[in-house]
């Protein structure tokens, strides 16, 4: 890793001592991550005040506000793809980590098994039930008190699953299809019913509290087997157990940048086009010759395939733009993905506020 030491007073005044690299090289070190043949270079953020003489890197909120941008690329009810430009990796990563582990949701925590004669063991069934996403807005509930065993209406949702499998009297004589022979032999998450506690029936009259998806297969039964289970949902975060994570996944990648160092024509251009993901490189007709041109580097998956070809590897420079993050948030359905991003940012703000109040309390003594 390259480390930059601030210049001494003598070096600053010595005009004959110039930066070894030309200016454009410095900009590249500051702004780009370089994908080389054997390794990835310039990974870490180095633009702290004092590292680069001639640059004022001190934190300036106005400068940040001018360069910061968010572009929404794609949004539907489950996925959200957006770009965050002009922010540092540490903060973008903080948002990603919070989306995965610190945005609270409701999930099944306690399973009271009154009767389970199926072949699915109690603990396996309880584990599967815990992972079912529950459609209840976690912002309307509180965390349960650690000492509280029963749970109140403000912190608990009660659900019930009661299924009994019987033989189908109207099945054809020589059928072997379980769908015809048995009734209720597949237990789906749609069979989970909500039992309102206290005033929940009024407060959540129109909100359908229950599993997000009704077609998650929980267990299979045969005639005579029965499942009678009551479940309590509580509020929790992904740090405690992954079942509380509100996202299917949340990830980001840096915007790839492909620079062609020379004009690449003809057969080489065709081979170059095949080295990248479809849509990245286009062959254009310039003066009768086929010339390769980079049209959309965003689509590239950065496989660095071009570096495996000896005649092509020196003609292309692969890199990533250090402060351009392409976020992809996929929700499990509990909350829409844009609400999740908002909640994640609020969680980071509340973390800072907590420590600010702690500092104030410590100072007062």
């Amino acid at each position: 890793m390259e480390v930059f030491y601030p210049l001494s007073a003598q070096e600053k005044n010595d005009t004959t001592t110039k930066m070894a690299a030309p200016m454009s090289n410095v900009d590249e070190i500051r702004n780009r991550v370089i994908l080389g043949e054997f390794g990835v270079k310039n990974v870490h953020t180095t633009d702290y005040p004092g590292n680069y003489p001639g640059y004022d890197d001190t934190w300036d909120l106005e400068k940040f506000k001018k360069t910061f941008r968010i572009d929404i690329v794609h949004s539907d009810e489950d996925t959200l793809e957006f770009d965050m430009i002009g922010i540092d990796a540490s903060i973008a990563n903080a948002f990603r980590r919070i989306l995965l582990a610190e945005v609270p949701t409701m999930a099944i925590e306690k399973v009271f098994i009154y009767n389970n004669t199926s072949i699915i063991q109690d603990e396996i069934l309880a584990h599967r039930l815990g992972l079912v996403p529950i459609k209840a807005d976690p912002r309307l509930f509180e965390y349960r008190n650690p000492e509280d065993q029963e749970g109140t209406e403000i912190d608990t949702i009660q659900l019930q699953l009661k299924v009994k499998c019987t033989r189908n009297p109207r099945a054809p004589k020589d059928s072997s299809d379980p769908k015809e022979l048995y009734l209720n032999h597949m237990v789906y998450s749609g069979d989970i019913k909500w039992l309102p506690i206290g005033n929940q029936a009024d407060v959540f009259a129109d909100a359908k509290i229950g599993p997000v998806h009704g077609d998650i297969l929980l267990a299979q039964l045969r005639p005579g087997q029965e499942l009678d289970v009551v479940m309590h949902c509580v509020k929790g975060i992904g740090k405690d157990h992954a079942k509380f994570s509100p996202v299917a996944t949340a990830s980001y990648r840096l915007l790839p940048e492909i620079t062609l160092l020379q004009t690449i024509e003809g057969e080489q251009a065709e081979r170059l086009k095949r080295c990248f993901s479809p849509g990245v490189i286009e062959i254009q007709n310039v003066n009768g010759r086929k010339v390769a041109k980079v049209v959309n580097s965003r689509l590239d998956t950065c496989s660095r395939e071009v570096l495996r070809h000896d005649d092509l590897k020196n003609l292309v420079k692969l890199g990533r733009v250090r402060d351009h993050f392409i976020f992809s948030v996929e929700s499990t359905g509990i909350l829409p993905p844009d609400v999740l991003v908002t909640e994640a940012i609020n969680v980071l703000i509340s973390k800072c506020q907590k420590f600010l109040t702690e500092l104030d309390m410590a100072e007062m003594d």
């Binding site: 934190w59 929404i72 922010i87 990563n93 980590r97 844009d338 973390k351 500092l359 410590a362």
Partner: protein, 136 residues
């Protein structure tokens, strides 16, 4: 079992020097040691806050006239053991500045960044939805 995650946090700060003192709400914080070199122990935290706070403090404003030196001489954090959820956040300052000052300004700056990101995101989502409306 599920634990209460919010609440129950407090900061221990230990100054360097031969005496390591835990500071909590009840103890008086005066000893001869340099107030500019402090290790804060932040409980229930990890890389999420540690790395972003370290970045904001390293970028912090200098009050000194000379452009070369900043308030903060060193800022770093480490996770002492992955099983314990706490970080040791170390700040060393120059010129006798109290270490809690860059910490406080770093937290304030991080809050401002988050608020701006939030406003921008919400505005852009609204604009995106308004654009989609006539098409649906």
């Amino acid at each position: 079992m599920t634990h209460m995650i919010c609440g129950q946090q407090h900061i221990h700060a230990a100054s360097t020097g031969h005496v390591e003192r835990a500071i909590d709400a009840n103890m008086v914080r005066t000893d001869g040691a340099d107030e500019g070199c402090v290790t804060f122990v932040l409980h229930e935290e990890d890389h999420t806050l540690g790395n972003s706070l370290r970045y904001m403090i390293m970028k912090s404003l200098s009050r000194v006239v000379c452009f070369y030196s900043q308030d903060v001489e060193f800022c770093g954090y480490s996770i002492t053991h992955p099983s314990e959820s706490k970080i040791n956040f170390r700040i060393q300052t120059r010129d006798g500045v109290a270490a809690s000052e860059p910490l406080r300004s770093g937290l304030n700056n991080l809050t401002e960044v988050c608020k701006h990101v939030l406003h921008t995101f919400e505005a852009r989502m609204q604009a995106f939805r308004d654009k989609e409306e006539p098409m649906s």
